[in-house]
Structure formats: C-alpha cells, structure tokens
Symmetry: none
Subunit: 198 residues, 4 copies
C-alpha cells in the first residue's frame, strides 16, 4: 500500500485573487478594447497589488487564455444537451451557441466583438470547427496529411457562423435569436446536405 503523496492543500486566498483578476479583465473588456487595458488597470479593478498579478499569471495574455478556458468549460457544461434535433449534425452547435450568446449578450460582445481579443475568437473558432469536423465524420485532430475536405467545410461553416454572430452582437439589431438561426441554417444547410449525401 503506497503512502498518499503529500500535496499541501492550496491556500484559499489564491483562488480568490485569481478569480478577482479574471472578473476584472472581463469587466474592463466591456468598457475598453483588450489591447488598451494594462495590467495595472486590471490589478486596480481587482483590488489586488500589481505584483500579485504576476504571482498568478505570466502576463495579460496568460490571464486571457485562463479566462478562455473558463468560457470553454462553461460552454461545454451547458452545451451538451440540445433538446431539439438539429437540421444537420454538423449544425448541432448553432442553436446552443446562439442561445448562450443571447443570455450573455454583453459578455459575448466584449469577447468576440470589435474590441475583443482575437485570441478569443480564434479559440472559439477552433473549438467549433473541431465539433463540425467530428460531426462530418472526420477525425477530431487535424491530420498532417493532405487536409480532408471536412476541414475545409468546417472552416466555411464556422467562419460563416462567427461572422454572423459578431454582426448580430455588434448591431443592436431587432433580429431575434430565432431569426438569426433561421438565416444561418437557410444559407448553410443546402450546401451541407449535398456534401453529406455523398
């Protein structure tokens, strides 16, 4: 029987500080574009010393990816159960994503809108593209060999979606979530239908 590895219980303050910093960054991103925000701003907003920031994160971008991971976890947690059968398996992500965006409109606008950090959009893009690739029967991980057509299709689908989403979030247009979804499906489904039948 092996002795349990002595791992000291982490200090509760640590998570408090880290969370305060994550929250502060997001709060500031509602007000200013990401690149204009300084580490000092974040620390101040989080009521935390600037040096404390560097204890927990290497730099601003490190904090950002940490936040992205939280976003991904949040999405994964509640994105698993699409009640209705989607028009096409590759479009299963559409309805949930639009709903999440609607619920957290301000947050999503801050993150993927004009002033947002490119990294967030890119990561979201990558994440969704993987889902689509899998749904199209391809492998989840990108192969080094000649890119399967699914990869290209996934780029098309997700690129279209991200653009529409961003446009919808940035204009305070009277378009409803349902209309957005319908528009997207009407444009992309026919093309997909043809491809899948093959």
């Amino acid at each position: 029987m092996t002795a349990a590895p002595r791992r000291p219980r982490p200090d509760r303050r640590v998570e408090r500080s880290k969370q305060a910093l994550r929250d502060a960054l997001i709060a500031l991103m509602h007000e200013h574009p990401y690149e204009r925000i300084s580490v000092a701003d974040i620390a101040e907003r989080a009521n935390v010393g600037r040096s404390t920031f560097y204890v927990h994160f290497a730099d601003k971008d490190d904090l950002l990816v940490d936040g992205i991971d939280q976003l991904k976890a949040w999405l994964r947690e509640r994105g698993d159960a699409p009640e209705v059968t989607p028009a096409h398996p590759a479009l299963a992500f559409v309805r949930p994503m639009i709903e999440h965006a609607e619920q957290q409109r301000a947050l999503f606008r801050a993150l993927v809108g004009r002033g947002g950090a490119v990294q967030v959009s890119e990561e979201l893009h990558r994440m969704l593209a993987e889902l689509v690739r899998v749904a199209l029967g391809g492998k989840a991980t990108v192969a080094k060999r000649r890119p399967a057509p699914e990869e290209a299709i996934a780029e098309v689908v997700v690129g279209a979606f991200m653009a529409l989403l961003r446009w919808w979030l940035e204009r305070d247009s009277a378009m409803t979530a349902a209309e957005v979804e319908a528009t997207f499906t009407r444009q992309l489904l026919p093309g997909l239908a043809g491809w899948t039948r093959r």
Copy 2:
C-alpha cells in the same frame, strides 16, 4: 479673374519616404506578427529616421490603413474584369480574390494570416461584404434602420470566404485554387440560389 492659388510642387522625396515605409512594414510583416513590429523597426528597415516616420504618419496603424488603401486600389484595379460569368452575382468576387491570393500568396498570408493585423482582415471583410450586399440588390451603404436581410447574408458569405481563404493560406495544403473555389461554391451557392429566386 482670380490668381491661381499658389501651390508649390510637392517635394519628390516625400513620396519616396512614404513608400519606403509602406514597403518596410509589409516586408516586416512577412517575418513578424504585426503587433510585435515597432515604429523604430519600420524606420530602420526603410532607412529613414524615426522622426521622419511621424512626419508622414500619425502612428503605426495610420501607416497600416494607408497600406490597406493601396491594397484596395490594387484589387479594384485588376478585379474589374472577371472573364467568366460567375455562378451567382453575389459570388463574383470569389474567383478574382482567390487568384490574387494565389499570385501574392506570401503577401496575403502576412496580411490576413495569423500574425496579420486584424484591421486588414476587417477592412477586406467590409469591402467584400459591400460588394455582396450590392449584388444582392441591397443598398451599398449600411442603413441605420432595421438591417436588411442582405446584410446578414453578406456576413455569412464573406465570413465563410475569409475563413476558408485564411485556412488555405496558412496551411501549405496541396489544394489548388480551383479546388478551393469549387469547395466554396458548392457550399454557398445552394443557399444563395434559394434566396435570390424569391
């Protein structure tokens, strides 16, 4: 009769300096991501004093915008004559853009690829979206009132195109320009066809 307003002929050196700076930026963007390039880097590469930079451009972004304008002019100049009738008027831009990208592969990768400046992609996006909107029979300029559906369609089409283009440029995939075009058309045309017929 009034005397002609005395306008001295501009110094030829001015344009030489400005062009050297534009070229230097583009050259550097082949090597480093846009944000990592400093004004000093650009000036040095252009064999120009750093203060001279500020004589001609307000800041790095100003130079970038200036470069984008040149790109747009270049595109407009040679994009006017698509020899073949496109599958759909809204997709008229596809063939020419892909051809330009192929010809200037390195340039396009530097501009709209991962390390490129977001502004370039956004401007290109805006430009193409306008073409699509017009082709769809909408107004060229975006109205403040309830967004016409054409706007949404344009976002979808252009978003899909830009994503595919970026993907194509970044991987050194063996996919040919023709294949890229075919893939895109196959995915987007069906949806458009339905919409237009209305």
Copy 3:
C-alpha cells in the same frame, strides 16, 4: 496561593534558528558584498523559512547588529589579557586586534573589507575609539560639550589603524602581523608620546 508566573521555557529551536541565520549571513558575506545579499538568500542558506527570519529579526541590519554584538563579545572575551605591556596604554588594543584578525583572516576580510557592511567597520571603530579615549584619561562616554582633544586623538589613532588593517587584509601581502604592528606603532607612537607627556 497564586500560581507561579508562567514563564515559558524558551524553545531551543528558537536559538537554533537564530544561530543558523547569523551563520548564514556570515557565510554569504564571504561570497558577496553585504548589500547584494537579500533576506531570502540568508533564509535559504540557513534552511529556514523567510518568514521565520522576520520572527527573529526586524530586518537584515538587525541581524547584522546582532552579529556584531557576537563579534564584540568574542573580542572582549579574549582581548582582556594582553600578555606584553604595550608601548603606550592607548595602543593596547593594537596587538590583540591584529592577532585576532590574523586568526580569523577570512572573517575579518569579509566584515571590514571592501564588500563588508559599513556598520561593522563603524561599530568596530566606535569600540576601539572608546578604548583609546579611556586610555587617554578622558571619559568613556562622549560628552555633548566642547569635544575633548582626546576624542580627536582617538579618531586619528583608530582611523589610522582601521585603514592599515583593511589594507593588510585586502592585499594578500606578505607582510607579517608583527610587521604591521611595528609599522603602525612606529607611525603613531611618537605623536602620542608627545601628547601624553603634557
């Protein structure tokens, strides 16, 4: 009947920690100048937590003073018995000090040499100056009133001695302890002799 006043027996570990810290500082002073040594360095060398340092000492200088006191105690303990009668009572300290310095050459070089802490030299200076003042018949404690000439003499004598000592320690000169003493006495005794006779 009242309970005996609770005087907790001092934890033996306390003295162990303090001594480890004192030793660590001295060890480090053999390698680096005093000001370049950080509290963290000392704690690490002493195998002690940094916070433990602050339990025992207010700061680095406090530890230093503590070490100086030990040095003074050490000197006093073995400095009391000069076997030979000195050339002049005010120079009684010379022979013992030189001998101590020779025995503990490395330590003395670290403490009063170039990289040493000024405080050590100053404290040693003060200590010796007091001995000299007393030997000259003046009061041990410095009076606020017009400084007695003995004070000035003491400064001269001790200043000369410290400079010679530091010089001797820093060069690895082939000068022997006896030669150093002789040199010093030959220079200072005549002046003192005149003064004392008064």
Copy 4:
C-alpha cells in the same frame, strides 16, 4: 592639410539634464542617506523624466561616480597651489583639504559623513593615498610586487586624516580648521619625520 574630423556638436540640452541630475543627487544627499534615495526621487528633484535619467546614466551609482569625478576635478583645480610650505611633503594635502571642507562644509558632510556613499570616501581615500605615496618617493601606481612600505604609511596617514575629517564634519564642534590641522600634524608628523630621514 587634413579635413577636420566631422564631430557633431553635442546637444546643449544633454549637459543641462546631466547637470540637473548631478545637482539633484547632491541636494538629496543633504537630506537623506544615499541608499535611501531612489532614481525616481532624483529625476523628480531634477525636473526630468525618469527615463531621461537612464538615457544619461546606467544607474544611481553611475551618476555618483560621475559626481565624484566632478569633485575630483574641482579639488585638483584649486588644490594645486598650497601657499605655505607644508611641514612635510606627504602632508601637503592636509591644509587644502581642510580648507575645502570648511568652505563646502554641508557638501562634504553629505558626501563623506555618515549617510554618504561609501564610494565617495573610498575614492577620496584612494586619491589622497596616491598623493602621499608619491610624496614619500614611491611610485604613483601600486605595484603588484611586495608592497612598498610607503603604501602602508600612506594608508595610515590618510586613514587617520579621513577619520578626523569625518569626525570634525559630523559634530558641529567649535574646533576651528586651524586646530584640526594642528591636531593632525602634531600626531602624524613625528612618525613621518623618522621615516623620511632614513
């Protein structure tokens, strides 16, 4: 006839800034010990941006040695002409140095007094020791070989002088410059006389 070497005239602002910084350091050293003064303090006092400081000096110590050089130049410039013949050539420096210290009492106290920077005292010591060595007939530069006795003598003389000077500057004693000089000479001359005659 050769062309004059193209040497661009130095920007007048540079010297203004550097001097302002030198002055600021000295001013602050009248108020606080050297080590407690931060670069930011100096820059602020000099009405100069902190970054400007780093344009001209590597760090605080660099500014200090620059100041020391100025002090040395100042001393050399006016120290050349001792009107009266000194009691002994090796003591020629005494009278002038005491006079300078008296004229610039506050400055000298700040520089070589308790809160002053060790470097200043050490440099002054080195400078005077060299004068004494030369006066004693030795070589100006320290030989690597067995240290000449003059070196030891010089250390004694200068060590004694520096200690007395520091003591005099720090107490606001009523001792006059003449008395200080007399005290010093009375103590050191006899010892020297013997040595020289040899």
